[in-house]
Symmetry: C2
Subunit: 225 residues, 2 copies
DNA sequence: TAGATTGTTAATCGATTAACAATC
DNA sequence: TAGATTGTTAATCGATTAACAATC
C-alpha cells in the first residue's frame, strides 16, 4: 500500500537538520526561502537542497522559493510518527545522567520513560525527572511501558549484554555510546556515538588540514538504514 | 617531502576502530589474525579490511594473516602524532561534566587540560580533575597551554560565538555538541555530535526497518577531511 | 519581458564489492 | 601439493554535482 520510494538515509539525516533550521526561521517570522538560503545554513549546495526537497515530494516556485511552514509540515510527515517514541536508557553514570537532563526539556516525539542501573544507590528514585529502576526488572518494564528505543551508556564490557536484553525485550532501535560495535539481528537498527573516536579523528584531520584542499573542512557523518 | 598518499577519511575512521579492536585481541594474547576475523569484529567485509590495510601500507602473509602487534604499530604511526593533543572544553554543564569525567581515565594522546564556563559558581575549581576557568580568560589560557582542539558543550545559542573565540585563539579542530552547524574557516576541522538528531534518525529507521532489506541494519557515520 | 529560481536529467566522482591471479 | 588467504584490478553501486530547459 505504501508506494513511497525509499528515501536515502543521508537525505533523512539532512532532513532532520533542515527541519530544525526551518523552525528557527519560522519563529523569526520568515515565511519563504530559496534553496540557496537553506543550503547556506545547512552547509551544503543549493542543488543538493533542491534535490532533497524533490525527493520528499515538496516543490517550490521559481519566484517565491519554498513556503517554510508547508515545508516543515511535509518534513514532519516524513520524519515523525503518529505516536511518541518511548526510550529506555541503561547506565545512569555521568553520561547517562547528562542525557537524561538533556531530554528533560521538550523533545517532541522522543521521551525517555525509564532508566536502569545495577547500582542500588541509583535506583528507585528519579534522575532529572526520569524514574530509575534496577536492571533486574528491565524486561518487565520495557514491555509494560511499550518502549521501542534504547540508549546504552554502560561501560564497554557490558554493552553487548545490555543490547541483547534490549533486543530480547522487543526494542527496535539502539543508540550505543559504548566504544564497541554491537552484534545485533538485522531487524534492529543501531547507531553508535563514540566521543573518544570522534576526538581521535579530529586530532588526525586537524593536524593534516593544510594538506587537504579548501572547502573540505567538515567531518561528515555517514549513515544508512 | 611527504609522499604518502592522502588516506580517505572513511578509512581513518575504520582505522581508529581497528586499533582498539586489535589492542583488545593483543591483550588477550592473540598474535596474528586474518582479514575476515577483523572484519567480523568491525562489522565489515574481509575485502574491505584487506583494502584498508593495503591503503596504510601494511601487508600480511597468506598463511599467517596479519601480525597484530606490528599492525597496531603501523596504525599508530598513521593516527597518532608525536605529541599529545591538548583539548579545551567550553560549557561545564551536565554533558560537559560527563565528558570531563570520561577523559579522567587514560586516553593516550588526548588530554583535556582546561574547561571554561560563564557560571562563577563553576569556575576556579577542578571538575573531575580538570581545572575550570572563567570564560573571560579563554584566549589567554589557550595560548598559554598550547591547546589545539576544542569541545563545545554550551547551549545552541552560544555555540557559534564560542567557536569563533576558539578559532581566534588558534584552535585547529572543534567537536561540537550543540545542535547547530558552525560556520568556520576552511583550515579548521570540525565534527558535530547531535544526540537528539541521532535519536530522531533512529526512530525513523527503526520504525521502517521491515521495509529495508536485511543486512542494512546499521546507521553508518560518514566523514571527510 | 528579463531574470532568478525551480525541476530534472546527464556526467562525475568516489567508495564499495566482486573477482581472481599470486602467494605462502 | 592443496587450499586458504593475500594483493590488486575491474565492475558495480550510489551519491553528489553540473547543466539546462521550464517556470513564475
Amino acid at each position: 500500500m505504501n508506494l513511497e520510494k525509499e528515501i536515502p538515509a543521508r537525505t533523512i539525516e539532512r532532513m532532520v537538520l533542515y527541519k530544525r533550521l526551518l523552525a528557527d526561521l519560522l519563529s523569526k517570522g520568515q515565511k519563504t526561502l530559496f534553496s540557496h538560503q537553506l543550503a547556506a545554513l545547512a552547509h551544503n549546495t543549493s542543488a543538493q537542497v533542491r534535490r532533497d526537497l524533490m525527493t520528499i515530494g515538496y516543490g517550490g516556485s521559481p519566484r517565491k522559493g519554498y513556503h517554510i511552514e508547508e515545508l516543515i509540515e511535509r518534513i514532519s510527515d516524513i520524519l515523525d510518527s503518529s505516536s511518541d517514541h518511548l526510550i529506555a536508557l541503561v547506565g545512569v553514570g555521568n553520561l547517562g545522567s547528562a542525557i537524561l537532563s538533556y531530554f528533560t526539556y521538550s523533545h517532541p516525539g522522543l521521551k525517555i520513560v525509564a532508566a536502569f542501573d545495577t547500582d542500588a544507590g541509583k535506583v528507585n528514585r528519579e534522575v532529572f525527572g526520569c524514574p530509575c529502576f534496577p536492571i533486574d526488572c528491565f524486561e518487565e518494564k520495557i514491555r509494560q511501558l511499550g518502549v521501542t528505543l534504547g540508549i546504552i551508556t554502560v561501560p564497554a564490557a557490558f554493552a553487548q549484554e545490555t543490547a541483547d536484553r534490549m533486543v530480547a525485550s522487543g526494542i527496535k532501535g539502539i543508540l550505543n555510546f559504548a566504544p564497541v560495535p554491537l552484534k545485533l539481528p538485522d531487524h534492529v537498527c543501531n547507531d553508535r556515538i563514540d566521543i573518544a573516536s570522534a576526538l581521535e579523528k579530529l586530532a588526525y584531520f586537524s593536524e593534516r588540514m593544510s594538506q587537504f584542499s579548501a572547502g573540505k573542512a567538515n567531518i561528515e557523518h555517514p549513515q544508512h538504514p
